[in-house]
């Protein structure tokens, strides 16, 4: 087994070795075939083609295409010749010596022979021009120039329209050009250029241009180069148009396939002949144009010119490169600048760009043209960056380039800056901005430069000239950070930074962005704060501190700003900065609407140790006053708000400012707020406080009347009267009104004497125009008192006022006293002013007139004649009418009086008639009897009238709910026997203490004056406490504000208690009408109490049984 294994391994090893050897041997390097071999192959192929063509020619006897075959044969022979030539060339490896290749000559001569044969056999062939041209080319290549000329000339002469004419001329021109006979060559070239355009026209122009160049006629050369460029461009455009399928009609054009320019074979296989193949006219013409352009044209237009003619960037760049070299040689600075700039912008980044940079730098220095130094710096730096980023550039070269370029840029910028700083430079700002731009490029491109700091400082100078204070400041700050803190320059740099940034911040705010503003402020603050660490002049320190504070102020950080300004004010008292700081502090607080701080600060600066000057203090005082007022307004608003502000704040504020006008205003505002809130307790307290602390306040009268009115509304009558009286004492402008109000109140409380005095005081306090109301109230009061003497005594002095209310009452009083004539005059005055007189006054007037007539009628003697009877009848009727007039006025007081008096008068008249004694003299008995009967009837009628009047009076009482003494007299069936109306006299009020627990009810009424429940309860409490005077006022208010029968009944009870029976009866009647049984019963009870039982029965019948409830006077039926 081991043997077999061993054998196996041995065989395996052997096989492995064999394979390895085989693999090693099979490593054949495959290379491309040598060019020589290729040529040999081509020669073989062309020979085959020649043979084939010959055979085809032989077999194609008399064929129409035989000329093409001959042509093809000749071309093949020529082609083989070319291959042999190339083969020889390759073999000799392009050596400089001439080649001797006999096959070439042989073949070419053969080709010529074939061409000639063709011409001979087919003299009119369409290929003749091609054949001639080919012969010419062959002759040229054989060096038979004479023959060449001959054949080519033949084309020109015999085939003027041939497309090969141009070719022929071109070859001829090239021949002479190559010989150096440029003038001769010009002739041929010009023939092409002057002829119609062909595909060689562009080239001809180009050649012609070189002719001119050689003749030193650069202007003509430029024209020729331009001609070449334009022609070539036109041809390109035509080709493009042709490529889209548009037909052309200029002879046999390239699109027929035979005469393409690129040297490829045509479709039919014939060779295309183009002299000087490989010249891109548009490229070569533009590039070669550079030399002449540099001599003939202005360099300022060079870039524009070449750009307009360039086909593509490559051509353009190459032309510019040549031009740049030309300008460099010519030391033409302007041109160099323009051209190198363009090259740096567009050219590929290679060593030539490095040279361009150097040339640009030199040219700029030469021309001292730094107007675009920023752009130039950017260009240079961009080239450097692009060059250094190349992978094939070593580190050493990079470093070297950086060093060089850094020098270039630095040199340019600094020179530019030197020129800038000369005085009276035009457009200085614009130039400065350009230089600054360049500096920015430098700083960005060379951050590690040793000159970085200097350049940084340079840019700041430039930025200041460019008025870019923001960047100047920021750069200065940057520079400051780079300088050692111990370096003295640092202080100056920081100071410059502060000044720059401050200048920026003086710019119009709308012209800068928010970001810039923020940057400037923060930069200024940093610079200024840092600057303060250095020893500075005091003025500078102050300025810097102020600048710091202003940054806070400008950014709205007012709390910081205030602290800084305050510190500044104390540090430099009396200085301008201090004064401005103080103003700004106050302004800051005003802006924040922080009136507390504003007041505190104002007071601080008004204090004796304040840093503010006298003038400033004078200005601060009104500010303090305004702030105090605004604070007060704020506190007042808050106190009056719904948010439970309370009066405490205002009161505290007032206390804090006690003794000042502000304190007074605060208290007044608190008073108003209390009134708005309905807080009566506070209102009284505050009112008292104001009166005590500010007795001279102009607001006192209004305040007191307000309190008085409020007291009335709360039914605190005594208090109201006291406040009203106090208001009057301090000469309230409305004191007459207040006195009348006070008098009314006292009247209601039964204090008639006091009331009378108030009215009299009111009358005395004013003239006749202002005392009408007071006079009327007085007259009414006196009438109610019923003292006619007093009425006359007190009212007569004012009769000239012609006040109807007073006058009518005066007249009645006079009547009552028997002063008929005076009364009559006054009554007439009232009646004559009937338009302005009230119905009450008119009622009195009519009543008075009736009374006068009645009084007069009483003076009649016994009726003892018919004439007297007749007269008396008329008088009675007149009196009746007058009383009825009085009743018709609808006066609640005088209607029952008039009706009652009518009844009285009627009964008296009836009695007169009954007791008349008419003599029989002159009358027959029958007549006499008739007269007596008539008088009796008249008496009966009058009795009846009297009764009717009383009935009407009684009915009227119930209907109108009017139950005064006269009405009650009617109800009892008795006629009123007095002139003056009667009135119930109120009982005097005895109770002065209030029942407990009324405040809650009063608060309810303060919040809602129409709270009937509260009113009822309030009145009831007064009633129970034995104060019916207050109670009746409350119940009357309840009825006025919508109260019902219950309230009317309670009013009746209160009125009864004050002995105002007419009021009580009226209220009970109202309650009965309202359906309250208690009212009905109370009405009857009171009527009975007054002795009017019949009326009581009538009342029970009149009103239906009402609802239960309500208080009774006593047990009723």
């Amino acid at each position: 087994m081991s043997k077999i294994v061993k054998r196996y391994w041995v065989n395996f090893a052997g096989l492995f070795l064999v394979c390895a050897a085989g693999c090693a041997q099979q490593q054949v390097t495959v290379r491309d075939a040598a060019y020589v071999e290729i040529l040999r192959v081509k020669i073989s192929k062309v020979r085959n083609a020649i043979e084939e063509t010959r055979e085809t020619i032989i077999s194609a006897r008399n064929a129409r295409y035989l000329p093409e075959l001959y042509l093809r044969l000749a071309e093949l022979l020529s082609e083989e010749a070319q291959y042999h030539h190339r083969l020889a060339y390759e073999r000799e490896q392009g050596g400089g010596k001439a080649l001797h290749v006999p096959q070439v000559r042989l073949l070419k001569e053969q080709a010529i022979g074939v061409y000639k044969q063709l011409l001979h056999k087919y003299p009119r062939t369409a290929l003749a021009d091609q054949v001639l041209f080919n012969i010419g080319q062959e002759q040229r290549e054989l060096g038979n120039f004479t023959e060449m000329q001959q054949y080519l000339q033949q084309i020109v002469k015999e085939y003027p329209d041939s497309p090969l004419k141009g070719e022929a001329l071109l070859v001829l021109g090239d021949y002479y050009f190559d010989k150096g006979e440029v003038a001769e060559s010009r002739i041929y070239y010009e023939q092409i250029t002057k002829d119609k355009p062909s595909r060689v026209t562009g080239l001809a122009y180009y050649k012609l241009a070189w002719v001119w160049v050689n003749l030193n006629e650069c202007d003509k050369a430029i024209a020729a180069f331009e001609g070449a460029l334009h022609t070539a461009r036109a041809a390109d455009q035509k080709k493009k148009a042709g490529a889209k399928g548009s037909a052309t009609n200029a002879g046999r054009e390239p699109d027929d396939g035979r005469y393409a320019e690129d040297g490829a074979h045509t479709d039919n296989g014939s060779k295309k002949e183009v002299s000087n193949q490989g010249i891109d006219v548009r490229h070569a013409a533009l590039v070669d144009l550079a030399y002449c352009y540099s001599l003939e044209r202005k360099p300022e237009n060079s870039v524009r010119y070449f750009r307009s003619l360039a086909r593509d960037r490559t051509t353009y760049v190459e032309a510019l490169e040549k031009l740049a070299r030309r300008y460099g040689v010519m030391s033409e600075a302007k041109g160099s600048i323009l051209v190198t700039r363009e090259l740096l912008r567009l050219g590929p980044i290679n060593e030539e760009r490095i040279d361009d940079v150097k040339q640009l730098h030199a040219a700029l220095r030469e021309a001292k043209d730094y107007t675009a130094v920023g752009s130039d710096s950017l260009l240079i730096a961009s080239v450097l960056a692009a060059y250094c980023s190349r992978a094939d550039v070593s580190d050493r070269v990079r470093a070297e380039m950086k060093k060089q370029f850094e020098l270039f840029i630095r040199d340019l910028l600094t020179r530019a800056q030197e020129r800038l700083e000369r005085p009276q430079q035009e457009r200085q700002v614009e130039r400065a901005m350009e230089i600054a731009r360049g500096y920015r490029v430098y700083l960005h491109a060379f951050p590690q430069s040793k000159a970085y700091l200097d350049m940084l400082l340079n840019i700041t100078d430039v930025l200041i000239l460019a008025k870019d204070h923001l960047e100047a400041g920021r750069r200065l700050l940057q520079a400051a950070f780079m300088v050692d803190p111990r370096d003295e320059r640092r202080r100056d740099i920081l100071y410059d930074a502060v000044v720059s940034l401050q200048n920026f911040l003086h710019t119009k705010r709308t012209d800068v962005s928010d970001l810039e503003w923020v940057l400037a402020r923060s930069g200024l603050r940093r610079a200024a704060s840092e600057l303060l660490r250095y020893p500075l002049h005091e003025d500078k320190i102050r300025t810097v501190k102020f600048a710091i504070a202003m940054t806070y102020y400008d950014e709205g950080n007012l709390s910081e700003a205030v602290d800084r300004f305050t510190a500044l004010a104390y540090e430099y008292p009396g200085s301008e900065e201090s004064e401005i700081s103080i103003r700004l502090i106050l302004d800051a607080f005003d802006t924040l609407s922080d009136f507390d701080s504003l007041m505190r600060a104002a007071q601080q600066f008004l204090a004796s140790d304040s840093p503010a000057g006298q003038e400033l203090r004078r200005q601060i005082s009104p500010l303090l006053g305004a702030a105090q007022q605004r604070k007060l307004d704020e506190v007042s608003l808050e106190a009056a708000g719904d948010e439970g502000g309370g009066l405490d704040m205002l009161v505290s504020f007032a206390r804090y400012n006690q003794g000042t006008s502000l304190g007074e205003r605060a208290l007044l505002n608190a008073f108003l707020a209390a009134r708005a809130q309905g807080d009566s307790e506070q209102l009284y307290k505050l009112g008292e406080a104001i009166i005590r602390l500010y007795p001279s306040s102009e607001q006192l009268p209004g305040l007191l009347s307000t309190i008085g009115q409020m007291a009335v509304a709360r039914f605190e009558i005594d208090r109201a009267i006291a406040f009203l009286a106090r208001a009057v004492k301090i000469r309230h402008p409305q004191q007459v009104r207040l006195l009348v109000t006070a008098g009314e109140l006292e009247e209601q409380l039964g204090s008639r004497d006091q009331s009378r005095l108030r009215y009299q005081e009111a009358i005395r306090a004013t003239d006749n125009r202002g005392r009408a109301e007071a006079l009327e109230h007085l007259a009414k009061l006196l009438e109610q008192e019923g003292d006619a003497n007093r009425m006359v005594a007190e009212l007569a002095p004012y009769k000239e006022d012609n006040n109807p209310e007073a006058l009518s009452r005066l007249a009645l009083a006079q009547l009552a006293l028997g002063k008929i004539q005076e009364a009559e005059t006054n009554l007439q005055n009232v009646l004559s002013a009937s338009a302005s007189a009230s119905s009450e006054a008119l009622a009195r007037a009519h009543h008075g007139v009736a009374e006068i007539m009645f009084a007069n009628s009483l003076g009649y003697g016994e009726l003892n004649s018919l004439e007297m009877v007749e007269e008396y009848v008329a008088v009675v009727e007149a009196i009746q009418q007058s009383y009825l007039n009085a009743a018709r006025e609808g006066s609640l007081t005088y209607t029952p009086v008039a009706l009652g008096r009518l009844a009285f008068m009627s009964r008296a008249a009836a009695q007169r008639f009954r007791t008349a004694n008419i003599p029989q003299q002159g009358l027959s008995p029958v007549q006499h009897q008739q007269v007596v009967s008539a008088l009796q009837r008249r008496a009966e009628q009058l009795e009846q009238s009297a009764q009717e009047a009383l009935t009407a009076c009684a009915n009227q009482s119930f209907a109108q709910r009017s139950f005064g003494p006269a009405a009650r007299s009617c109800l009892s069936g008795r006629a009123w026997d007095r002139v003056l109306a009667g009135f119930d006299k109120f009982a005097r009020r005895t109770s002065k203490s209030e029942p407990a627990g009324l405040e809650e009810l009063r608060k309810r009424l303060s919040r809602n004056a129409d709270d009937i429940e509260a009113l009822r309860e309030l009145g009831s409490r007064f009633l129970r406490a034995g104060d019916p005077h207050y109670a009746r006022l409350v119940f009357a208010a309840a009825i006025e504000r919508g109260g019902g029968a219950v309230d009317a009944n309670l009013l009746g009870i209160a009125e009864n208690d004050v002995q105002n029976y007419s009021g009580a009866l009226s209220a009970f009647a109202r309650a009965a009408e309202g359906g309250l049984e208690a009212g009905r019963q109370n009405l009857a009870t009171l009527l009975r109490k007054l002795g009017l039982n019949a009326a009581a029965e009538d009342a029970i019948k009149r009103y239906p049984v009402g609802q239960s409830g309500g208080q009774l006077l006593s047990k009723g039926r």
Binding site: D355, R410, Y452, M482, E571, S597, E643
Partner: protein, 241 residues
């Protein structure tokens, strides 16, 4: 078994009692369900009313947040100033006075925050009341309005108390501020350093980067035609043309 039933009954009773108590608590404090101001079934006036109350809450909340922020800022400022400013040995009173001022300021701001909280509570109570009233009016729910009104009144009273405290802290702040400046003025009069307030005690700002230094640290530059740039013409490459 008997013992077990006793224990079981006792436990059950306790459980039932606890349940009742829990329900009692739950039912005792009513929760007012908010009404949607966008609910089109409600009359417009109702919706406006509720929306207005809502706005009040939103505004109050915003004011509360602003007050918080002011307080935080003030605290940060105080810390910063105390860290940065140094009045030296002569300025101990100034520092004390400044501290006092800061503390009063904080008290004032805290009182402002309390007021804002109180206003927020009041706004929320009023919102609850408005919602409850409208719900009752439109038969959506039943609530004990009196209880809610009590809440509103309570909130008002709280606000009033806070306002009083605010006023006191304000007066205190004004006094300490005035005192501080008086102390500072005295400090200056006694020869105190007027720069301390401005420069603080921190070190000078350090150099921003380790850029090549100029001045004493730099290699002295050669004299050149252009002193500004220190560019020596010899360093410039010559024009190749």
């Amino acid at each position: 078994m008997r013992r077990f039933s006793r224990i079981w009954m006792k436990r059950t009773s306790l459980l039932v009692l606890a349940t009742f108590i829990a329900f009692g608590f739950a039912c005792g404090s009513q929760q007012v369900e908010p009404l949607d101001p966008n609910d089109s079934t409600l009359p417009q006036d109702t919706r406006r009313w509720i929306a207005a109350a809502e706005d009040g809450v939103v505004a109050a909340r915003a004011r509360r947040d602003a007050a918080k922020e002011r307080l935080e800022r003030a605290r940060a400022r105080q810390k910063r100033m105390l860290d940065e400013i140094d009045f030296g040995s002569k300025g101990a009173k100034v520092v004390d006075s400044m501290n006092a001022r800061f503390e009063r300021h904080q008290d004032y701001l805290e009182a402002q925050l309390d007021r804002a909280e109180a206003l927020l509570a009041l706004a929320e109570a009023k919102y609850e009341l408005a919602t409850a009233e409208q719900a009752i009016i439109h038969d959506i729910a039943r609530y004990d309005v009196e209880e809610i009104k009590q809440k509103v009144e309570h909130a008002r009273r709280q606000l009033q108390d806070v306002r009083n405290r605010l006023r006191q802290t304000r007066e205190s702040l004004d006094r300490t501020t005035t005192r501080f400046w008086q102390v500072y003025a005295q400090y200056l009069k006694e020869g105190g350093d007027a720069l301390r307030f401005w420069t603080g005690k921190g070190p000078s700002m350090s150099i921003a980067r380790s850029a090549p230094k100029t001045g004493t640290d730099a290699k002295p530059q050669e004299q050149s035609v252009n002193p500004r740039s220190n560019v020596n013409p010899k360093d410039l490459p010559s024009n190749p043309f």
